[in-house]
Symmetry: C2
Subunit: 331 residues, 2 copies
Protein backbone atom coordinates (compact mmCIF):
# COMPACT_ATOMS: atom_id res chain seq x y z
CA UNK A 1 0.00 0.00 0.00
CA UNK A 2 1.39 3.36 -1.08
CA UNK A 3 0.98 6.76 0.53
CA UNK A 4 1.11 10.21 -1.11
CA UNK A 5 2.61 12.88 1.13
CA UNK A 6 3.55 16.54 0.93
CA UNK A 7 7.04 16.79 2.44
CA UNK A 8 8.43 20.18 3.51
CA UNK A 9 11.51 20.59 1.35
CA UNK A 10 12.40 24.28 1.75
CA UNK A 11 11.68 27.11 4.18
CA UNK A 12 9.82 29.78 2.24
CA UNK A 13 11.04 33.34 2.01
CA UNK A 14 7.93 35.46 1.66
CA UNK A 15 5.03 33.67 -0.02
CA UNK A 16 5.22 29.88 0.02
CA UNK A 17 5.55 28.37 -3.44
CA UNK A 18 4.88 24.87 -4.77
CA UNK A 19 8.55 23.95 -4.72
CA UNK A 20 8.68 24.43 -0.93
CA UNK A 21 7.09 20.98 -0.75
CA UNK A 22 7.80 17.74 -2.52
CA UNK A 23 4.90 15.42 -3.38
CA UNK A 24 6.26 11.98 -2.62
CA UNK A 25 4.91 8.48 -2.94
CA UNK A 26 6.17 6.24 -0.20
CA UNK A 27 5.51 2.92 1.45
CA UNK A 28 3.26 2.85 4.45
CA UNK A 29 5.03 2.56 7.81
CA UNK A 30 4.30 -0.46 10.02
CA UNK A 31 1.91 0.18 12.89
CA UNK A 32 3.65 0.20 16.27
CA UNK A 33 1.92 -0.35 19.58
CA UNK A 34 -0.83 2.20 20.29
CA UNK A 35 -0.64 3.54 16.77
CA UNK A 36 -3.55 3.86 14.38
CA UNK A 37 -3.73 3.95 10.57
CA UNK A 38 -6.09 6.67 9.40
CA UNK A 39 -7.32 7.36 5.88
CA UNK A 40 -7.30 11.14 5.67
CA UNK A 41 -10.58 12.54 4.29
CA UNK A 42 -10.46 16.31 4.96
CA UNK A 43 -7.56 18.59 5.86
CA UNK A 44 -7.81 21.93 7.62
CA UNK A 45 -5.90 24.73 5.87
CA UNK A 46 -5.05 27.52 8.29
CA UNK A 47 -2.96 30.71 8.31
CA UNK A 48 -0.96 29.30 11.23
CA UNK A 49 0.55 26.73 8.84
CA UNK A 50 2.68 29.48 7.34
CA UNK A 51 4.33 30.02 10.72
CA UNK A 52 5.00 26.30 11.16
CA UNK A 53 7.14 26.43 8.00
CA UNK A 54 9.57 28.92 9.55
CA UNK A 55 12.61 27.92 11.48
CA UNK A 56 12.80 29.00 15.10
CA UNK A 57 10.81 28.82 18.28
CA UNK A 58 7.14 29.64 18.25
CA UNK A 59 4.22 28.30 20.27
CA UNK A 60 4.84 24.85 18.75
CA UNK A 61 7.86 23.31 17.05
CA UNK A 62 8.37 24.14 13.38
CA UNK A 63 7.87 21.38 10.81
CA UNK A 64 11.31 19.94 10.08
CA UNK A 65 12.66 19.83 6.53
CA UNK A 66 11.97 16.35 5.15
CA UNK A 67 8.90 15.86 7.37
CA UNK A 68 5.29 15.59 6.25
CA UNK A 69 3.67 19.03 6.28
CA UNK A 70 1.66 19.39 9.47
CA UNK A 71 -2.12 19.88 9.19
CA UNK A 72 -5.16 19.05 11.23
CA UNK A 73 -7.65 16.73 9.61
CA UNK A 74 -10.45 14.21 9.94
CA UNK A 75 -10.41 10.70 8.59
CA UNK A 76 -11.45 7.09 9.00
CA UNK A 77 -9.58 4.49 11.01
CA UNK A 78 -8.42 1.63 8.72
CA UNK A 79 -6.36 -0.36 11.19
CA UNK A 80 -5.71 0.06 14.90
CA UNK A 81 -3.14 -1.12 17.41
CA UNK A 82 -4.96 0.79 20.15
CA UNK A 83 -7.86 -0.39 22.27
CA UNK A 84 -9.33 3.13 22.03
CA UNK A 85 -10.05 3.02 18.27
CA UNK A 86 -11.54 0.48 15.89
CA UNK A 87 -11.59 0.32 12.09
CA UNK A 88 -14.47 2.45 10.86
CA UNK A 89 -14.19 5.08 13.60
CA UNK A 90 -13.94 8.68 12.43
CA UNK A 91 -11.22 10.71 14.12
CA UNK A 92 -9.75 14.20 14.31
CA UNK A 93 -6.05 14.90 14.81
CA UNK A 94 -2.87 16.31 13.33
CA UNK A 95 -3.00 13.94 10.39
CA UNK A 96 -0.64 15.83 8.08
CA UNK A 97 -0.89 16.60 4.36
CA UNK A 98 -1.03 13.02 3.09
CA UNK A 99 -3.46 10.27 2.10
CA UNK A 100 -2.84 8.04 5.09
CA UNK A 101 -1.54 8.84 8.56
CA UNK A 102 0.17 6.44 10.93
CA UNK A 103 -0.31 8.24 14.18
CA UNK A 104 -0.24 7.74 17.96
CA UNK A 105 -3.69 7.04 19.38
CA UNK A 106 -3.28 9.67 22.09
CA UNK A 107 -3.20 12.39 19.42
CA UNK A 108 -6.64 11.47 18.12
CA UNK A 109 -10.20 11.91 19.26
CA UNK A 110 -13.40 10.55 17.79
CA UNK A 111 -15.90 12.61 15.83
CA UNK A 112 -19.41 11.57 14.85
CA UNK A 113 -20.29 11.98 11.14
CA UNK A 114 -23.96 11.51 12.00
CA UNK A 115 -24.02 14.64 14.17
CA UNK A 116 -22.33 16.99 11.70
CA UNK A 117 -20.71 16.78 8.26
CA UNK A 118 -17.01 15.95 8.62
CA UNK A 119 -15.59 19.33 7.42
CA UNK A 120 -17.48 21.02 10.27
CA UNK A 121 -15.16 19.28 12.74
CA UNK A 122 -12.36 21.33 11.17
CA UNK A 123 -14.31 24.59 11.41
CA UNK A 124 -16.86 25.72 13.91
CA UNK A 125 -16.58 22.46 15.89
CA UNK A 126 -12.79 22.35 15.53
CA UNK A 127 -9.79 24.54 16.24
CA UNK A 128 -11.12 27.71 14.53
CA UNK A 129 -14.35 27.49 16.53
CA UNK A 130 -12.45 26.91 19.76
CA UNK A 131 -10.08 29.79 18.94
CA UNK A 132 -13.03 32.12 18.44
CA UNK A 133 -14.89 30.91 21.52
CA UNK A 134 -12.06 31.12 24.05
CA UNK A 135 -10.31 34.12 22.50
CA UNK A 136 -13.45 36.22 22.44
CA UNK A 137 -14.96 35.15 25.74
CA UNK A 138 -11.87 34.77 27.95
CA UNK A 139 -9.64 37.50 26.52
CA UNK A 140 -12.00 39.85 24.67
CA UNK A 141 -14.45 39.81 27.60
CA UNK A 142 -17.36 41.31 25.62
CA UNK A 143 -20.20 42.86 27.58
CA UNK A 144 -23.72 43.32 26.29
CA UNK A 145 -24.06 46.64 24.48
CA UNK A 146 -20.38 46.93 23.66
CA UNK A 147 -19.01 47.18 20.11
CA UNK A 148 -16.95 44.22 18.87
CA UNK A 149 -14.91 44.47 15.65
CA UNK A 150 -13.38 41.41 14.00
CA UNK A 151 -10.96 41.27 11.07
CA UNK A 152 -10.87 38.44 8.51
CA UNK A 153 -14.52 38.39 9.51
CA UNK A 154 -15.65 35.98 6.78
CA UNK A 155 -12.97 33.45 7.68
CA UNK A 156 -13.16 30.36 9.83
CA UNK A 157 -12.48 32.18 13.09
CA UNK A 158 -14.04 35.53 12.24
CA UNK A 159 -17.49 34.19 11.40
CA UNK A 160 -17.66 32.44 14.76
CA UNK A 161 -16.29 35.42 16.72
CA UNK A 162 -18.93 37.69 15.24
CA UNK A 163 -21.82 35.32 15.84
CA UNK A 164 -20.83 34.63 19.45
CA UNK A 165 -20.49 38.39 20.03
CA UNK A 166 -24.05 38.81 18.69
CA UNK A 167 -25.25 36.05 21.04
CA UNK A 168 -23.64 38.04 23.89
CA UNK A 169 -25.61 41.16 22.95
CA UNK A 170 -22.87 43.18 21.29
CA UNK A 171 -22.88 45.44 18.26
CA UNK A 172 -20.73 43.53 15.77
CA UNK A 173 -18.78 44.95 12.84
CA UNK A 174 -16.73 42.76 10.50
CA UNK A 175 -13.83 43.69 8.24
CA UNK A 176 -13.66 41.48 5.15
CA UNK A 177 -12.56 41.64 1.52
CA UNK A 178 -15.24 42.08 -1.12
CA UNK A 179 -18.91 42.92 -1.32
CA UNK A 180 -20.04 39.29 -1.38
CA UNK A 181 -18.42 38.55 1.96
CA UNK A 182 -19.73 41.76 3.49
CA UNK A 183 -23.26 41.00 2.31
CA UNK A 184 -22.98 37.51 3.79
CA UNK A 185 -21.88 38.85 7.17
CA UNK A 186 -24.85 41.18 7.36
CA UNK A 187 -27.58 39.18 5.63
CA UNK A 188 -26.71 35.65 6.74
CA UNK A 189 -24.84 36.06 10.02
CA UNK A 190 -26.60 39.13 11.41
CA UNK A 191 -23.57 41.42 11.76
CA UNK A 192 -24.52 45.07 12.37
CA UNK A 193 -21.95 46.40 9.95
CA UNK A 194 -19.32 45.22 7.51
CA UNK A 195 -16.33 47.05 6.06
CA UNK A 196 -14.95 45.95 2.68
CA UNK A 197 -11.22 46.62 3.10
CA UNK A 198 -10.53 45.86 -0.56
CA UNK A 199 -12.89 48.50 -1.93
CA UNK A 200 -13.36 51.09 0.81
CA UNK A 201 -11.45 53.02 3.43
CA UNK A 202 -11.29 51.14 6.73
CA UNK A 203 -10.99 54.33 8.86
CA UNK A 204 -14.10 55.78 7.26
CA UNK A 205 -15.93 52.51 7.72
CA UNK A 206 -14.98 52.31 11.39
CA UNK A 207 -16.26 55.84 11.99
CA UNK A 208 -19.51 54.99 10.25
CA UNK A 209 -20.18 51.59 11.78
CA UNK A 210 -18.73 52.12 15.25
CA UNK A 211 -20.22 55.45 16.32
CA UNK A 212 -19.62 54.53 19.99
CA UNK A 213 -16.00 53.45 19.39
CA UNK A 214 -14.57 49.95 19.67
CA UNK A 215 -14.54 48.00 22.93
CA UNK A 216 -13.23 44.67 21.68
CA UNK A 217 -11.13 44.08 18.57
CA UNK A 218 -10.46 40.48 17.60
CA UNK A 219 -7.58 40.72 15.16
CA UNK A 220 -6.60 38.06 12.65
CA UNK A 221 -4.76 40.28 10.17
CA UNK A 222 -2.45 42.89 11.77
CA UNK A 223 -0.84 45.58 9.61
CA UNK A 224 -2.78 48.66 8.55
CA UNK A 225 -6.11 47.31 9.78
CA UNK A 226 -4.82 46.92 13.34
CA UNK A 227 -3.45 50.45 13.16
CA UNK A 228 -6.77 51.81 11.93
CA UNK A 229 -8.75 50.15 14.71
CA UNK A 230 -6.27 51.38 17.34
CA UNK A 231 -7.33 54.94 16.52
CA UNK A 232 -10.97 54.13 17.40
CA UNK A 233 -10.72 52.13 20.62
CA UNK A 234 -12.53 53.09 23.79
CA UNK A 235 -11.25 53.38 27.33
CA UNK A 236 -10.30 49.93 28.65
CA UNK A 237 -10.68 48.30 25.24
CA UNK A 238 -9.41 44.74 24.76
CA UNK A 239 -7.54 43.77 21.59
CA UNK A 240 -7.25 40.04 21.07
CA UNK A 241 -4.20 39.15 18.95
CA UNK A 242 -5.18 35.90 17.26
CA UNK A 243 -3.08 36.28 14.12
CA UNK A 244 -1.57 38.67 11.60
CA UNK A 245 -2.09 37.09 8.20
CA UNK A 246 -1.17 40.34 6.42
CA UNK A 247 2.37 39.96 7.81
CA UNK A 248 3.09 36.23 7.52
CA UNK A 249 4.64 36.37 4.07
CA UNK A 250 6.68 39.52 4.69
CA UNK A 251 10.23 39.42 3.48
CA UNK A 252 10.95 42.57 5.49
CA UNK A 253 10.23 43.09 9.19
CA UNK A 254 6.68 42.78 10.47
CA UNK A 255 4.87 46.13 10.51
CA UNK A 256 4.39 46.84 14.18
CA UNK A 257 1.29 48.80 15.20
CA UNK A 258 2.46 52.42 14.95
CA UNK A 259 -0.62 53.51 16.91
CA UNK A 260 0.08 51.27 19.90
CA UNK A 261 0.30 54.30 22.21
CA UNK A 262 -3.46 54.40 21.91
CA UNK A 263 -3.23 51.59 24.46
CA UNK A 264 -1.75 54.12 26.88
CA UNK A 265 -4.17 56.93 26.14
CA UNK A 266 -7.10 54.54 26.52
CA UNK A 267 -5.71 52.29 29.29
CA UNK A 268 -6.36 49.48 26.87
CA UNK A 269 -4.93 46.01 26.53
CA UNK A 270 -3.53 43.93 23.68
CA UNK A 271 -3.20 40.23 24.44
CA UNK A 272 -2.15 37.19 22.46
CA UNK A 273 -3.97 33.86 22.48
CA UNK A 274 -3.18 30.29 21.47
CA UNK A 275 -6.11 27.91 21.35
CA UNK A 276 -4.26 24.86 22.72
CA UNK A 277 -4.15 26.47 26.18
CA UNK A 278 -7.86 25.73 26.50
CA UNK A 279 -7.69 22.04 25.62
CA UNK A 280 -9.17 20.98 28.96
CA UNK A 281 -12.30 22.97 28.23
CA UNK A 282 -12.89 22.08 24.57
CA UNK A 283 -15.69 19.71 25.54
CA UNK A 284 -17.69 22.35 27.39
CA UNK A 285 -17.23 24.82 24.54
CA UNK A 286 -18.27 22.27 21.91
CA UNK A 287 -21.45 21.47 23.86
CA UNK A 288 -22.37 25.14 24.19
CA UNK A 289 -21.66 25.83 20.51
CA UNK A 290 -23.60 22.75 19.41
CA UNK A 291 -26.55 24.17 21.34
CA UNK A 292 -26.24 27.48 19.51
CA UNK A 293 -26.04 25.67 16.17
CA UNK A 294 -29.17 23.68 17.01
CA UNK A 295 -30.98 26.93 17.88
CA UNK A 296 -29.92 28.48 14.57
CA UNK A 297 -27.86 31.15 16.32
CA UNK A 298 -24.52 29.93 15.03
CA UNK A 299 -24.13 29.17 11.35
CA UNK A 300 -21.22 27.38 9.78
CA UNK A 301 -19.69 27.84 6.36
CA UNK A 302 -16.97 25.70 4.88
CA UNK A 303 -15.11 26.28 1.66
CA UNK A 304 -14.13 22.84 0.36
CA UNK A 305 -11.55 22.39 -2.40
CA UNK A 306 -10.95 18.89 -3.77
CA UNK A 307 -7.73 17.02 -4.41
CA UNK A 308 -4.65 16.42 -2.27
CA UNK A 309 -2.48 17.46 -5.23
CA UNK A 310 -3.98 20.96 -5.04
CA UNK A 311 -2.66 21.56 -1.53
CA UNK A 312 -0.10 24.32 -2.33
CA UNK A 313 -2.41 26.50 -4.43
CA UNK A 314 -5.29 25.97 -2.04
CA UNK A 315 -3.24 27.06 0.97
CA UNK A 316 -2.33 30.26 -0.89
CA UNK A 317 -6.02 31.18 -1.13
CA UNK A 318 -5.83 32.12 2.56
CA UNK A 319 -3.20 34.79 1.96
CA UNK A 320 -5.08 36.25 -0.98
CA UNK A 321 -8.33 36.35 1.00
CA UNK A 322 -9.95 34.04 -1.55
CA UNK A 323 -11.55 31.61 0.89
CA UNK A 324 -15.05 32.25 2.11
CA UNK A 325 -15.56 30.46 5.38
CA UNK A 326 -13.41 27.67 6.73
CA UNK A 327 -10.97 26.46 4.06
CA UNK A 328 -10.90 22.64 3.83
CA UNK A 329 -9.08 20.35 1.41
CA UNK A 330 -10.91 17.16 0.46
CA UNK A 331 -8.25 14.51 0.04
CA UNK B 1 2.95 92.51 41.61
CA UNK B 2 4.28 90.96 38.37
CA UNK B 3 4.32 87.34 37.27
CA UNK B 4 6.76 85.64 34.89
CA UNK B 5 5.13 82.92 32.81
CA UNK B 6 6.08 80.53 30.01
CA UNK B 7 3.26 80.75 27.48
CA UNK B 8 2.87 78.08 24.80
CA UNK B 9 3.23 79.98 21.55
CA UNK B 10 3.74 77.23 18.94
CA UNK B 11 3.08 73.54 18.61
CA UNK B 12 6.47 71.85 18.17
CA UNK B 13 7.27 69.68 15.20
CA UNK B 14 9.79 67.15 16.45
CA UNK B 15 11.95 68.41 19.30
CA UNK B 16 10.52 71.36 21.20
CA UNK B 17 12.61 74.49 20.89
CA UNK B 18 12.84 77.66 22.99
CA UNK B 19 10.69 79.60 20.55
CA UNK B 20 7.75 77.26 21.15
CA UNK B 21 7.19 79.26 24.33
CA UNK B 22 7.17 82.94 25.08
CA UNK B 23 8.50 84.15 28.43
CA UNK B 24 6.06 86.86 29.41
CA UNK B 25 5.79 89.26 32.30
CA UNK B 26 2.18 89.92 33.20
CA UNK B 27 0.05 91.38 35.95
CA UNK B 28 -1.29 89.03 38.56
CA UNK B 29 -4.94 88.06 38.16
CA UNK B 30 -7.39 88.97 40.93
CA UNK B 31 -8.32 86.11 43.27
CA UNK B 32 -11.88 84.90 42.72
CA UNK B 33 -13.89 82.92 45.25
CA UNK B 34 -12.24 79.63 46.25
CA UNK B 35 -9.05 80.59 44.48
CA UNK B 36 -5.60 80.59 46.02
CA UNK B 37 -2.41 82.48 45.14
CA UNK B 38 0.60 80.20 45.26
CA UNK B 39 4.26 81.12 44.98
CA UNK B 40 5.71 78.33 42.84
CA UNK B 41 8.88 76.85 44.36
CA UNK B 42 9.58 73.65 42.39
CA UNK B 43 8.21 72.42 39.06
CA UNK B 44 8.05 68.85 37.90
CA UNK B 45 9.47 68.29 34.41
CA UNK B 46 8.05 65.14 32.82
CA UNK B 47 8.11 63.41 29.42
CA UNK B 48 4.32 63.64 29.33
CA UNK B 49 4.63 67.42 28.91
CA UNK B 50 5.73 66.85 25.32
CA UNK B 51 2.39 65.20 24.59
CA UNK B 52 0.45 68.05 26.17
CA UNK B 53 1.99 70.41 23.59
CA UNK B 54 0.40 68.51 20.69
CA UNK B 55 -2.97 69.31 19.29
CA UNK B 56 -5.61 66.63 19.50
CA UNK B 57 -7.24 64.33 21.97
CA UNK B 58 -5.14 62.43 24.45
CA UNK B 59 -5.78 61.36 28.04
CA UNK B 60 -6.02 65.03 29.03
CA UNK B 61 -6.68 68.19 27.02
CA UNK B 62 -3.71 69.71 25.23
CA UNK B 63 -2.33 73.03 26.46
CA UNK B 64 -3.90 75.73 24.30
CA UNK B 65 -1.76 78.17 22.38
CA UNK B 66 -1.51 81.36 24.47
CA UNK B 67 -1.95 79.47 27.75
CA UNK B 68 0.62 79.03 30.51
CA UNK B 69 2.55 75.79 29.93
CA UNK B 70 1.10 73.09 32.16
CA UNK B 71 3.32 71.56 34.85
CA UNK B 72 2.87 70.03 38.26
CA UNK B 73 4.59 71.83 41.10
CA UNK B 74 4.84 72.59 44.79
CA UNK B 75 4.72 76.02 46.32
CA UNK B 76 3.67 78.21 49.22
CA UNK B 77 0.26 79.77 49.64
CA UNK B 78 0.56 83.59 49.67
CA UNK B 79 -3.10 84.51 49.72
CA UNK B 80 -6.24 82.46 49.93
CA UNK B 81 -9.94 82.91 49.16
CA UNK B 82 -10.60 79.35 50.28
CA UNK B 83 -11.32 78.11 53.77
CA UNK B 84 -9.20 75.03 53.00
CA UNK B 85 -5.87 76.85 52.67
CA UNK B 86 -4.07 79.56 54.64
CA UNK B 87 -1.03 81.68 53.80
CA UNK B 88 2.10 79.70 54.65
CA UNK B 89 0.62 76.33 53.67
CA UNK B 90 2.65 74.29 51.21
CA UNK B 91 0.65 72.78 48.36
CA UNK B 92 0.98 70.50 45.34
CA UNK B 93 -1.00 71.00 42.14
CA UNK B 94 -0.89 71.81 38.45
CA UNK B 95 0.75 75.17 39.09
CA UNK B 96 2.11 75.78 35.58
CA UNK B 97 5.48 77.09 34.42
CA UNK B 98 5.36 80.46 36.16
CA UNK B 99 6.40 82.26 39.35
CA UNK B 100 2.94 82.58 40.81
CA UNK B 101 -0.21 80.58 40.23
CA UNK B 102 -3.77 81.76 40.75
CA UNK B 103 -5.55 78.48 41.01
CA UNK B 104 -8.79 76.86 42.19
CA UNK B 105 -8.49 75.44 45.70
CA UNK B 106 -9.98 72.11 44.62
CA UNK B 107 -6.96 71.49 42.38
CA UNK B 108 -4.53 71.67 45.32
CA UNK B 109 -3.57 69.46 48.20
CA UNK B 110 -1.29 70.17 51.14
CA UNK B 111 2.21 68.76 51.53
CA UNK B 112 4.35 68.86 54.66
CA UNK B 113 7.90 70.22 54.17
CA UNK B 114 8.86 68.84 57.59
CA UNK B 115 8.21 65.24 56.49
CA UNK B 116 10.15 65.35 53.21
CA UNK B 117 12.05 67.92 51.16
CA UNK B 118 9.68 69.67 48.76
CA UNK B 119 11.11 68.19 45.49
CA UNK B 120 10.32 64.71 46.80
CA UNK B 121 6.60 65.53 46.51
CA UNK B 122 7.21 65.77 42.75
CA UNK B 123 9.07 62.46 42.62
CA UNK B 124 8.68 59.36 44.70
CA UNK B 125 5.83 60.90 46.73
CA UNK B 126 4.25 62.49 43.66
CA UNK B 127 2.97 61.47 40.24
CA UNK B 128 6.07 59.49 39.17
CA UNK B 129 5.97 57.47 42.38
CA UNK B 130 2.25 56.83 42.00
CA UNK B 131 2.74 55.88 38.35
CA UNK B 132 5.38 53.35 39.32
CA UNK B 133 3.40 51.97 42.25
CA UNK B 134 0.07 51.44 40.51
CA UNK B 135 1.49 50.58 37.11
CA UNK B 136 3.78 47.90 38.46
CA UNK B 137 1.50 46.42 41.10
CA UNK B 138 -1.91 46.60 39.39
CA UNK B 139 -0.90 46.04 35.76
CA UNK B 140 2.53 44.41 35.91
CA UNK B 141 1.36 42.02 38.65
CA UNK B 142 4.88 40.94 39.67
CA UNK B 143 5.23 37.71 41.60
CA UNK B 144 8.14 36.82 43.84
CA UNK B 145 10.89 35.13 41.85
CA UNK B 146 9.86 36.63 38.53
CA UNK B 147 12.12 38.82 36.39
CA UNK B 148 11.11 42.47 36.02
CA UNK B 149 12.77 44.72 33.44
CA UNK B 150 12.30 48.49 33.44
CA UNK B 151 13.42 51.01 30.82
CA UNK B 152 14.47 54.59 31.64
CA UNK B 153 15.42 52.82 34.83
CA UNK B 154 17.33 55.72 36.35
CA UNK B 155 14.45 58.12 35.80
CA UNK B 156 11.74 59.28 38.18
CA UNK B 157 9.42 56.37 37.48
CA UNK B 158 12.01 53.70 36.70
CA UNK B 159 13.91 54.01 39.97
CA UNK B 160 10.69 53.48 41.92
CA UNK B 161 9.48 50.61 39.71
CA UNK B 162 12.75 48.74 40.21
CA UNK B 163 12.85 49.24 43.96
CA UNK B 164 9.23 48.16 44.46
CA UNK B 165 9.89 45.08 42.32
CA UNK B 166 12.85 44.25 44.60
CA UNK B 167 10.60 44.69 47.64
CA UNK B 168 8.21 42.19 46.02
CA UNK B 169 11.00 39.61 45.68
CA UNK B 170 11.69 39.91 41.95
CA UNK B 171 14.90 39.79 39.97
CA UNK B 172 15.20 43.35 38.63
CA UNK B 173 17.08 44.52 35.55
CA UNK B 174 17.20 48.18 34.51
CA UNK B 175 17.93 49.67 31.11
CA UNK B 176 19.56 53.11 31.36
CA UNK B 177 21.99 55.34 29.47
CA UNK B 178 25.57 55.47 30.70
CA UNK B 179 27.83 53.66 33.14
CA UNK B 180 27.17 56.08 36.00
CA UNK B 181 23.44 55.42 35.94
CA UNK B 182 23.95 51.67 35.65
CA UNK B 183 26.36 51.66 38.60
CA UNK B 184 23.84 53.64 40.62
CA UNK B 185 21.04 51.17 39.88
CA UNK B 186 23.14 48.24 41.06
CA UNK B 187 25.16 49.78 43.88
CA UNK B 188 22.65 52.17 45.38
CA UNK B 189 19.24 50.76 44.49
CA UNK B 190 20.05 47.03 44.61
CA UNK B 191 19.07 46.14 41.03
CA UNK B 192 20.28 42.68 39.97
CA UNK B 193 21.46 43.85 36.57
CA UNK B 194 21.72 47.00 34.47
CA UNK B 195 22.05 47.43 30.71
CA UNK B 196 23.71 50.56 29.34
CA UNK B 197 21.80 51.11 26.11
CA UNK B 198 24.12 53.91 25.02
CA UNK B 199 27.28 51.80 25.12
CA UNK B 200 26.21 48.18 24.80
CA UNK B 201 23.84 45.94 22.90
CA UNK B 202 20.47 45.65 24.62
CA UNK B 203 19.71 42.18 23.21
CA UNK B 204 23.00 40.82 24.52
CA UNK B 205 22.40 42.46 27.88
CA UNK B 206 18.93 40.95 28.14
CA UNK B 207 20.29 37.47 27.42
CA UNK B 208 22.97 37.95 30.03
CA UNK B 209 20.90 39.50 32.80
CA UNK B 210 17.59 37.72 32.25
CA UNK B 211 18.59 34.07 31.92
CA UNK B 212 15.05 33.03 32.89
CA UNK B 213 13.40 35.43 30.41
CA UNK B 214 11.26 38.46 31.23
CA UNK B 215 7.96 38.22 33.10
CA UNK B 216 7.19 41.90 33.52
CA UNK B 217 8.44 44.76 31.36
CA UNK B 218 7.66 48.28 32.53
CA UNK B 219 8.30 50.41 29.46
CA UNK B 220 8.92 54.14 29.46
CA UNK B 221 10.76 54.43 26.17
CA UNK B 222 9.26 52.37 23.32
CA UNK B 223 11.13 52.00 20.02
CA UNK B 224 14.00 49.53 19.64
CA UNK B 225 14.17 48.76 23.35
CA UNK B 226 10.55 47.59 23.43
CA UNK B 227 11.24 45.45 20.38
CA UNK B 228 14.31 43.91 21.98
CA UNK B 229 12.48 43.01 25.18
CA UNK B 230 9.58 41.49 23.19
CA UNK B 231 11.99 38.83 21.92
CA UNK B 232 12.78 37.73 25.50
CA UNK B 233 9.38 37.61 27.21
CA UNK B 234 8.05 34.54 28.95
CA UNK B 235 4.69 32.86 28.69
CA UNK B 236 1.97 35.11 30.12
CA UNK B 237 4.33 38.09 30.43
CA UNK B 238 2.88 41.50 31.22
CA UNK B 239 4.16 44.61 29.43
CA UNK B 240 3.16 47.87 31.07
CA UNK B 241 3.06 50.73 28.58
CA UNK B 242 3.79 53.81 30.67
CA UNK B 243 5.40 55.94 28.00
CA UNK B 244 7.52 55.99 24.86
CA UNK B 245 9.95 58.86 25.26
CA UNK B 246 12.04 57.65 22.30
CA UNK B 247 9.09 58.42 20.03
CA UNK B 248 7.68 61.68 21.41
CA UNK B 249 9.74 64.00 19.20
CA UNK B 250 9.33 61.96 16.02
CA UNK B 251 8.53 63.92 12.92
CA UNK B 252 7.62 60.66 11.16
CA UNK B 253 5.20 58.01 12.41
CA UNK B 254 5.80 56.31 15.74
CA UNK B 255 7.79 53.09 15.37
CA UNK B 256 5.35 50.38 16.32
CA UNK B 257 6.71 47.26 18.00
CA UNK B 258 7.60 45.01 15.04
CA UNK B 259 7.91 42.05 17.41
CA UNK B 260 4.39 42.41 18.82
CA UNK B 261 3.48 38.90 17.61
CA UNK B 262 5.60 37.68 20.50
CA UNK B 263 2.45 38.55 22.48
CA UNK B 264 0.66 35.81 20.56
CA UNK B 265 3.42 33.22 20.79
CA UNK B 266 3.70 33.85 24.53
CA UNK B 267 0.03 34.54 25.34
CA UNK B 268 1.34 37.79 26.75
CA UNK B 269 -0.30 41.12 27.38
CA UNK B 270 0.58 44.74 26.66
CA UNK B 271 -1.45 47.29 28.58
CA UNK B 272 -1.42 51.06 28.89
CA UNK B 273 -1.68 52.98 32.14
CA UNK B 274 -2.49 56.54 33.17
CA UNK B 275 -1.78 57.41 36.79
CA UNK B 276 -4.82 59.65 37.30
CA UNK B 277 -7.10 56.61 37.23
CA UNK B 278 -5.81 55.71 40.69
CA UNK B 279 -6.46 59.09 42.32
CA UNK B 280 -8.79 57.58 44.93
CA UNK B 281 -5.99 55.36 46.19
CA UNK B 282 -3.05 57.82 46.20
CA UNK B 283 -3.30 58.14 49.98
CA UNK B 284 -2.88 54.43 50.62
CA UNK B 285 0.01 54.22 48.19
CA UNK B 286 1.76 57.23 49.75
CA UNK B 287 1.47 55.67 53.20
CA UNK B 288 2.93 52.37 52.05
CA UNK B 289 5.76 54.07 50.16
CA UNK B 290 6.54 56.36 53.13
CA UNK B 291 6.90 53.19 55.19
CA UNK B 292 9.37 51.74 52.68
CA UNK B 293 11.33 55.01 52.65
CA UNK B 294 11.49 54.99 56.46
CA UNK B 295 12.80 51.39 56.37
CA UNK B 296 15.48 52.37 53.82
CA UNK B 297 13.96 50.09 51.18
CA UNK B 298 12.95 52.88 48.84
CA UNK B 299 15.47 55.58 48.01
CA UNK B 300 14.68 58.81 46.23
CA UNK B 301 16.85 60.81 43.89
CA UNK B 302 15.99 64.20 42.50
CA UNK B 303 17.86 66.13 39.84
CA UNK B 304 17.26 69.81 40.61
CA UNK B 305 18.07 72.54 38.08
CA UNK B 306 17.71 76.17 39.15
CA UNK B 307 16.01 79.07 37.44
CA UNK B 308 12.59 79.46 35.84
CA UNK B 309 14.26 81.00 32.79
CA UNK B 310 16.04 77.69 32.13
CA UNK B 311 12.77 75.81 31.64
CA UNK B 312 13.11 75.02 27.89
CA UNK B 313 16.67 73.65 28.01
CA UNK B 314 15.95 71.78 31.22
CA UNK B 315 12.91 70.06 29.76
CA UNK B 316 15.05 68.93 26.82
CA UNK B 317 17.36 67.05 29.20
CA UNK B 318 14.62 64.42 29.49
CA UNK B 319 14.73 63.61 25.78
CA UNK B 320 18.52 63.41 25.77
CA UNK B 321 18.55 61.14 28.81
CA UNK B 322 20.59 63.74 30.73
CA UNK B 323 18.60 63.71 33.94
CA UNK B 324 19.53 61.35 36.71
CA UNK B 325 16.55 60.80 38.93
CA UNK B 326 13.44 62.94 39.05
CA UNK B 327 13.98 66.16 37.06
CA UNK B 328 12.83 69.23 39.01
CA UNK B 329 13.11 72.92 38.17
CA UNK B 330 13.69 75.24 41.14
CA UNK B 331 11.84 78.43 40.31
Amino acid sequence: MKNKQFILSARPIGEPKETDWQLKESDMAELANNQVLVQVEYLSLDPAMRGWMNEGKSYIEPVKLGEVMRAGGVGKVIESNSSDFSPGDYVHGMLGVQQYAVIAANGLHKVDPALAPLPRYLGVLGMPGMTAYFGLLNTGLPKSGETVVVSAAAGAVGTVVGQIAKIKGCRVVGIAGGQEKCDYLINELGFDGAIDYKNSDVMTGLKQHCPQGVDVFFDNVGGDILDAVLTRINLHARIVICGAISQYNNTTAVKGPANYLSLLVNRARMEGIVVFDNAKHYGDAAREMAGWIAQGKLKAKEHVVEGLDNFPQTLMMLFKGENFGKLVLKV
